[in-house]
């Protein structure tokens, strides 16, 4: 079982580290969290999950441990549930600003800006954006990882994208305006 676990960790390690980094915001804390979670889950991986289920299972363990630590540290999360029923949250922040077109230099250069903007989001929102938009999880999978409802994930994503959009809009010469 150990060899299989380690092989699967090897296949998904980049995504796991990226998730820990996204959640903690610190390479040191990300590494510590990742090692702790993998040690704790080493003997717990249910064989019935198989290789297909491993990624989602370990992402869930990682995300939940991470959120717990972040909350325990006292970082005030602005809970996704608060925004789920708040239609005003889904209003665009800067409706007049365009995003860079695919294939343009501004489009290619926007990645680092997005990374910086992602850090400014609360932990649940940035985890939703990371899991769905970057790692490609389905909403129900992201909801399972974060321990919230699908509606919460959707609201969180809408809010995250709106804020990322606003961040890009604030840098007209670099991304949003350079169309």
């Amino acid at each position: 079982m150990g060899a299989a676990f380690e092989e699967l960790v090897g296949v998904h390690l980049n995504d796991l580290y990226g998730t820990a980094l996204c959640c903690t915001g610190s390479p040191e804390r990300a590494e510590e969290l990742l090692c702790d979670v993998l040690r704790e889950t080493f003997h717990e991986f249910p064989p019935q999950e198989g290789a297909q289920g491993f990624r989602l299972w370990v992402l869930e363990m990682l995300a939940r441990a991470c959120l717990e630590r972040v909350r325990h540290r006292g970082t005030r999360p602005s809970g996704v549930a608060e925004t789920a029923s708040a239609p005003a949250e889904i209003e665009p922040a800067a409706p007049g600003v365009r995003l860079p077109e695919p294939g343009t230099p501004a489009y290619a250069a926007v990645g680092d800006m997005l990374r910086s903007a992602l850090r400014s989001l609360d932990v649940e929102t940035r985890m939703s954006v990371w899991l769905v938009n970057v790692l490609g999880l389905r909403y129900r999978e992201a909801a399972r990882c974060l321990g919230v409802s699908v509606q919460d994930v959707m609201a969180s994503l809408a809010r995250g994208r709106r804020r990322l959009h606003a961040e890009l809009a604030d840098k007209p010469g670099k991304a949003a305006g350079a169309v």
């Binding site: 380690e6 092989e7 390479p27 209003e91 997005l114 990374r115 959009h165």
Partner: protein, 260 residues
């Protein structure tokens, strides 16, 4: 339906949803409302922008190593029968032998480097493989197994990419190590073939070292048997086979390992 309400049903825009009555009303609204249509389009573009441009850096090598060290410690408490990989190195009475080996290896590296310098001064592409082959006399992490599945598992977890040992008729897998070639980590697989040792390298590359067709080079040593080297690249990995076996053996191995 008001714009704000419609958007709650349609956002995020890039996920299939059950077309219930509210969603259908929201879609109908968006088709008539240019502001909502533009906003939904913007949301879809934002998702695409994140998906396509967000940097996804690989886990640093030190993180990879610490993770596997942590798992190795966990495995140390695992039930018997779990295969372990070991760190090889000079220990106890073997230390002096290892020091001698190191000196010999460094000498050979120097010789090899000199011997395969082209007349014009440029080093042949295979030099980096020869250096690592010689450096392996004194290092590092390895798994001793003839089980291709166990070796594949070891390589996958160490390198983060699935590498399967070639199964070549007449060649017996003995062990695998992690190598460092030109600053790139890769796999070194050790075989015996025709009663002699043969080393096979697979290192992530960009096809710069060799072409797709395996080609044989001979590396002459001042005081040792000539070493033969077969190089090829499949675009993703650079491959090398080294041995003092005759060229036909190396080419047979290379062809079975994917070179053509």
């Amino acid at each position: 339906m008001r714009c704000e309400e419609a958007r709650t049903f349609l956002v995020p825009a890039d996920e299939p949803r059950i077309a219930d009555r509210d969603v259908l009303r929201a879609i109908e609204h968006a088709e008539r409302c240019s502001k909502c249509a533009a906003w939904i389009q913007l949301d879809r573009r934002m998702a695409q922008l994140i998906r396509e441009t967000f940097p996804r850096d690989p886990a640093p090598q030190e993180v990879r190593e610490r993770v596997y060290s942590a798992l190795a410690r966990e495995r140390a408490g695992a039930p018997a029968g779990v295969r372990r990989w070991r760190r090889r190195g000079p220990r106890g009475p073997r230390a002096s032998l290892a020091v001698l080996s190191l000196a010999a290896a460094l000498t050979l590296v120097a010789i090899a480097t000199l011997e395969i310098v082209r007349p014009g001064g440029a080093r042949q592409p295979g030099t980096v493989f020869v250096e690592d082959y010689l450096r392996k006399m004194v290092e590092t992490e390895e798994i001793v197994s003839s089980d291709p599945t166990a070796v594949a598992a070891f390589l996958t977890r160490e390198l983060g990419v699935p590498i399967r040992p070639p199964v070549v008729p007449g060649a017996e897998l003995k062990a695998a190590e992690i190598c460092l070639v030109g600053g790139r980590r890769g796999a070194l697989l050790k075989y015996t073939m025709g009663g002699r040792e043969l080393s096979y390298y697979a290192v992530r590359g960009e096809g710069r070292l060799a072409g797709p067709k395996p080609s044989v080079q001979t590396v002459e040593f001042a005081s040792a048997k000539a070493l033969r080297l077969v190089l090829w690249s499949d675009g993703e990995f650079d491959h090398a086979v080294l041995s003092d076996l005759p060229p036909d053996y190396l080419l047979t191995f290379a062809h079975a390992a994917g070179g053509y």
